[in-house]
Amino acid sequence: MATLELSLDEEVAVTPARRARRLGPLFWAAIGWMMFVFAAATLAPLLPMPSPTDMDMLERRAPMSALHWLGTDGLGRDELARLIYGARISLIVGLCAPVIGITIGGALGMLAGYFRGRFETLVVGSMDVLLAFPPLILALAVTAYLGQSILNLTCILGVLGIPAFMRVARAATLTLARREFVIAAQALGATHARILLRELLPNVFLPPFAFFLLGAAVTIVVEGALSCLGLGVPPPISSWGSMSGEGRESLEIAPRLAFLPAITMFLTVLSFNLVGDTLRALTDPRQGAL
């Protein structure tokens, strides 16, 4: 942190090479893995590999081969293809749900922290209610009523993330809302909307954003857990969680079917956490300069 303080004063002198050295190989490995997963997920339909849903009953739980690089699962579906298509689901859910959380939660938190009063009481109170609600029951209830789909799953996980983002954004706003520059903006005749969007948002943004990356990691895990319990995406769509869940049945015969998706998820979540932590550490000292 102390070294970064220095770089604030001589920002012009900071070269990309110096910054890269400070970030360390672990950060770049994490970035590399994330890029790899993102690329595979995006380009999945273009990759030369078998369909993730085609079953080959003669090749059930086949070992690794030239045709099936990672073998096949209990229904003879290509494991690699399912992992890659599963990445799409995990990433879509893992990124979209925190987006819902950061948008709604962040907005509510800033409004609550800025306007205070009854509105804040109402928001904080309703968030406490949401926090007290057992998440698994909520997920069960929603999927029971609205059916299993990626959209529903994303919405549930998104809504569950709102209280955390609200709290982070509100805490950040509270410390800033009575700062002199906000009063100065009011004294200059700025509207509430202007103060919130131009004066506060750029200052408040960083903590929820660092939390966003951690939130994405958590969401991927939760999605995995829900899918593993059969509450996630409906079959035959694969997600890492549902693959682990299906692999559970053949844990003794072919443990890789459960472990491969679990390891993939582990690496991805770890990457998100590493990148999130590094970005947070990089942006943290700015609070000191405020």
Partner: protein
């Protein structure tokens, strides 16, 4: 004052609810300031100077209760509809705060902060606003203004930042500038520069200025009138020369005596005012300065003195035992 007042503060009182009871931050203050004039408000920390300035701007904390009238340019700011008040702020009323470290937004460039203010209030387009920002920064004495526009507040020194804050305050040609201890956070050599800058821009733009400070030395040469505040009240108010020649209030005398003198012997102890300002949540029955005043009598502890008129109607003081004159000659 013959010309009609630009701002007149009439019987303004501010109460702040605290857990220990109501705190009277400003106690029935009357002040007037004409267009183009300078009023100095002097007093030690916690005497209500800043709360008074916030009351004028209607920027008090939400829980504060304000009574009285603040007439600015013919309209009462108290209870003015928020939209009209918002338009008035910035355009007619501007403020420079004490600490330029916190009064500028740390994550926006100087340019963004200046240009957006101009665009909002003067409805200039982007290029015109940028051009005017450069002129403004040049006017407040910032070298290489074009480059500064792209910099963030943390890249500027304290004095520079205060100049930027002044540029923002001046950007829309306000009629009244409230400078709330504009030099307290700066070192002494910069203080004089900033005060000179404020005085120069004030003359050039013919704007009125309220200069709030705890330093009598600051107001001495730069104001037309001075109001001395103590415990939320104005205890003496006079045209600046009259105040320094014939001060009546023992508190003013004590404040002046507490200024370090260049001709004093080295290591001479500074005559401090003993004691502390009274606890504003427990108002004193008599004169609020009486516990610390060396002239205090039983009457001072019993009754509150009203603002009496000295030899000219412009000079008022609240004391039962006014000093004759600073020089000791009976008035």
């Amino acid at each position: 004052m013959t010309e009609p007042a630009l701002l007149s503060v009439e019987d303004v009182a501010v109460d702040l609810p605290t857990p220990r009871g109501d705190l009277r931050a400003v106690d029935h203050v009357d002040l007037k300031i004409g267009a183009g004039r300078t009023l100095g408000i002097v007093g030690e920390s916690g005497c209500g100077k800043t709360m008074l300035s916030r009351a004028i701007l209607q920027l008090l904390p939400k829980k504060a209760r304000l009574s009285g009238r603040v007439m600015f340019d013919g309209q009462d700011l108290v209870g003015l509809d928020p939209e009209r008040l918002r338009k008035l702020r910035g355009r007619s009323l501007a403020v420079v705060f004490q600490d330029p470290m916190t009064s500028l937004n740390p994550v926006l460039t100087i340019g963004t902060q200046l240009i957006e203010t101009l665009q909002e209030h003067l409805e200039l387009d982007g290029n015109a606003a940028k051009k005017r920002s450069v002129e403004l920064l040049a006017a407040v004495g910032i070298p290489a203004p074009e480059q500064r526009l792209m910099q963030y507040p943390h890249q500027l020194s304290g004095g520079m930042r205060q100049r930027v804050a002044i540029a923002i305050a001046l950007s829309c040609e306000p009629k009244l500038l409230i400078a709330d201890e504009p030099t307290t956070a700066l070192d002494v050599t910069i203080q004089a520069q900033i005060l000179d800058l404020l005085a120069r821009e004030q003359r050039r733009r013919h704007m009125a200025m309220i200069l709030i400070t705890h330093d009598l030395g600051v107001v001495a040469g730069r104001t037309d009138e001075v109001a001395v505040m103590y415990a939320g009240r104005v205890v003496e108010r006079a045209p600046t020369p009259a105040l320094f020649k014939n001060m009546r209030m023992p508190y003013t005398e004590a404040l002046l005596a507490a200024l370090p003198r260049i001709d004093a012997a080295p290591h001479a102890p500074l005559p401090a005012i003993s004691g502390r300002p009274p606890d504003p949540t427990r108002p004193i029955k008599g004169c609020s300065f009486s516990p610390r005043c060396r002239y205090a009598t039983a009457q001072c502890h019993r009754e509150k003195p009203a603002l009496a008129i000295a030899e000219s109607p412009d000079h008022r003081y609240a004391c039962f035992h006014p000093l004759k004159t600073a020089a000791g000659i009976p008035a």
